[in-house]
């Protein structure tokens, strides 16, 4: 069911706050509970790698396309990567068509930051000829049904798709169309993004679309296998205290283990 108007008002927000104090969310979940997650890889044959992730009602598809081109001038011996995302009007009644708004740009850039700074892709191994020819990894993350938490679910889809990616053959500096190899894309790490919301004095993870509408602030934390952090993004109009940040990061690190396990199980 849908309505174009977000249903929240101040009284409903108070209501959610009161319920959270008793540890109950709108759908009965606990504050640190993720919805049911289902991950499928290799769902798009035209992509070099792909994954479909469902988290509750949120469903996101990610596809990887490999291209060849020139390296950046300041990293002549490395391949390049880029994350693109669009908030498709297909996925939620509140979206209308048109060029990507700031929200979809944020989703793309935060997922990008995690993967790039976490060095998920071994870009040195993507160099074909120094200074002349390198591989470019294009990661596109698109929601099919948006019921909240696009960054985390999109991030999981991107990571699963990267693990699913197989290299293409090159001949005469051009990609041979339709010839996939068994060689995996060189991957070094799995930086898992976890977004923690602050509503009143409560921290929750994996918000639904409704819960996102009443957030005071949020913090996305990209966590590596050794619990170190490689990307951060604060959102929302309210501020965070140092105590808040400590608590949110601890919660994010804790949840990242669960999510990484889920991704690895699906590979």
């Amino acid at each position: 069911m849908n309505t174009k108007v977000i249903m929240m008002n101040q009284e409903l927000k108070t209501h959610i706050n009161e319920a959270l104090k008793k540890g109950v969310r709108l759908d009965g979940r606990k504050k640190d509970e993720f919805r049911e997650i289902e991950i499928k890889t290799g769902v798009v044959a035209t992509a070099e790698g792909s994954a479909l992730v469902r988290c509750g009602d949120t469903e996101v598809i990610a596809g990887i396309k490999l291209q060849v081109g020139e390296p950046y001038p300041d990293s002549q011996d490395q391949g390049t990567m880029m994350v693109g995302s669009e908030l498709l009007p297909l996925s939620n009644p509140n979206f209308e068509g048109g060029p990507p708004g700031i929200d979809s740009i944020e989703v793309a850039r935060v997922i990008d930051r995690g993967i790039r700074e976490g060095k998920a892709i071994d870009t040195k191994k993507l160099c074909i000829r120094v200074g002349e020819l390198v591989w470019t990894v294009m990661i596109d993350v698109l929601p099919l049904n948006h019921d909240g938490n696009l960054i985390d679910v999109g991030g999981m889809a991107a990571l699963a798709a990267l693990e699913n990616t197989r290299m293409l053959k090159i001949e005469n500096d051009k990609i041979v169309i339709g010839k996939r190899t068994d060689e995996k894309l060189p991957i070094c790490s799995m930086p898992v993004p976890v977004t923690v919301l602050k509503i009143g004095d409560n921290f929750i993870v994996d918000p639904t679309f409704e819960e996102e509408a009443v957030l005071d602030a949020r913090l996305t934390v990209a966590v590596l296998e050794d619990d170190s952090l490689c990307a951060l993004q604060k959102g929302g109009k309210a501020s965070l205290t140092t105590k808040d940040i400590k608590g949110m990061i601890a919660l994010a690190i804790d949840k990242s283990h669960e999510l990484r396990k889920k991704i690895n199980e699906a590979l």
């Binding site: 249903m7 008002n9 109950v24 759908d27």
Partner: protein, 270 residues
């Protein structure tokens, strides 16, 4: 001469373009049409055979405002002479000054004393023009501004099933969860109670929505509520199977009668 055949039975799910009957014996009602020697469905629905007339009750479709419907709306704009409300429909509604309160509201008064932006209220549709302009009133039994609680959206076509014949289904949920519940004809519903109980009520309503076309639902709902709340629940005598509830669309008692005992919530002043 086309053979006379009825190809569907009562309560069958039918889809656009499906042939329901052949020959000239049957007549097309709501949701069906005649194409030469056949009666076909023209929307997703549940078949109702009324003598010689084949009708289909819609299973999906957004709410279209109807006069006398009791609905839940949200104030989205404050006008010179009233308020505009979102009513979960392609069309918004206007609550005129004169229909907001039993007390006198002077011209130029601060309208936000009565309804502010984003306030929710139970209102009744007083008029729908041919261009789908909608007027509502908040003066009358069971009509009032809503305070607290939460709002959910349900399929407007399933509202009769959620309310039940003479309110029996929604009463059962209310008794089991101790929640106040108001289900608007427009698919906007309000609940208020303990958080865990609200969740049970919301899940129950979701179950009814999904299985509204299946018989034996009342028993299933009763079992679910008993398991979830740990209480024994009595099913009221009038609680009926799908056929009766679906046919009682016309004679159904609206929320107003059901909610009379909730009138302590009538507050027209801040």
């Amino acid at each position: 001469m086309t053979e006379e055949r009825l190809l569907v039975k009562d309560k069958d799910v039918v889809v656009p373009g499906e042939v329901l009957a052949t020959g000239m014996n049957y007549l097309p009602g709501q949701g069906t049409y005649r194409l030469e020697g056949q009666i076909m469905a023209n929307r997703l629905g549940l078949i109702m055979i009324d003598g010689k007339v084949l009708k289909s009750l819609p299973l999906a479709g957004r709410y279209m405002p109807k006069k006398y419907d009791m609905i839940v709306g949200k104030v989205i704009d404050i006008l010179m002479s009233g308020w505009r409300m979102e009513i979960n429909s392609p069309y918004s509604a206007v609550l005129p000054l004169k229909d907001a309160s039993f007390s006198y509201i002077a011209k130029g008064a601060d309208l936000t004393r009565y309804f502010e932006l984003e306030d929710y209220a139970v209102v009744k549709i007083t008029n729908v023009t041919s261009q789908n302009l909608v007027d509502v009133t908040c003066k009358g039994p069971g009509l009032f501004k809503l305070r607290g609680g939460r709002i959910i959206l349900v399929n407007t076509n399933k509202v009769p099933r959620i309310i039940g014949k003479k309110g029996s289904m929604v009463s059962m949920i209310k008794r089991a969860t101790d929640c106040k519940i108001i289900v608007g004809q427009n698919g906007m519903a309000w609940l208020s109670g303990e958080p865990e109980m609200e969740v049970i009520a919301v899940n129950t309503i979701g179950m009814i929505e999904e299985q509204s076309h299946i018989s034996g639902l009342t028993e299933k709902i009763k079992d679910y509520l008993e398991k979830a709340t740990g209480r024994k629940i009595e099913v009221m005598a009038e609680a009926a199977e799908i056929g009766e509830e679906v046919r009682s669309e016309g004679d159904m008692e609206q929320n107003g009668h059901e909610e009379r005992h909730d009138q302590e919530h009538r507050r027209y002043e801040q």
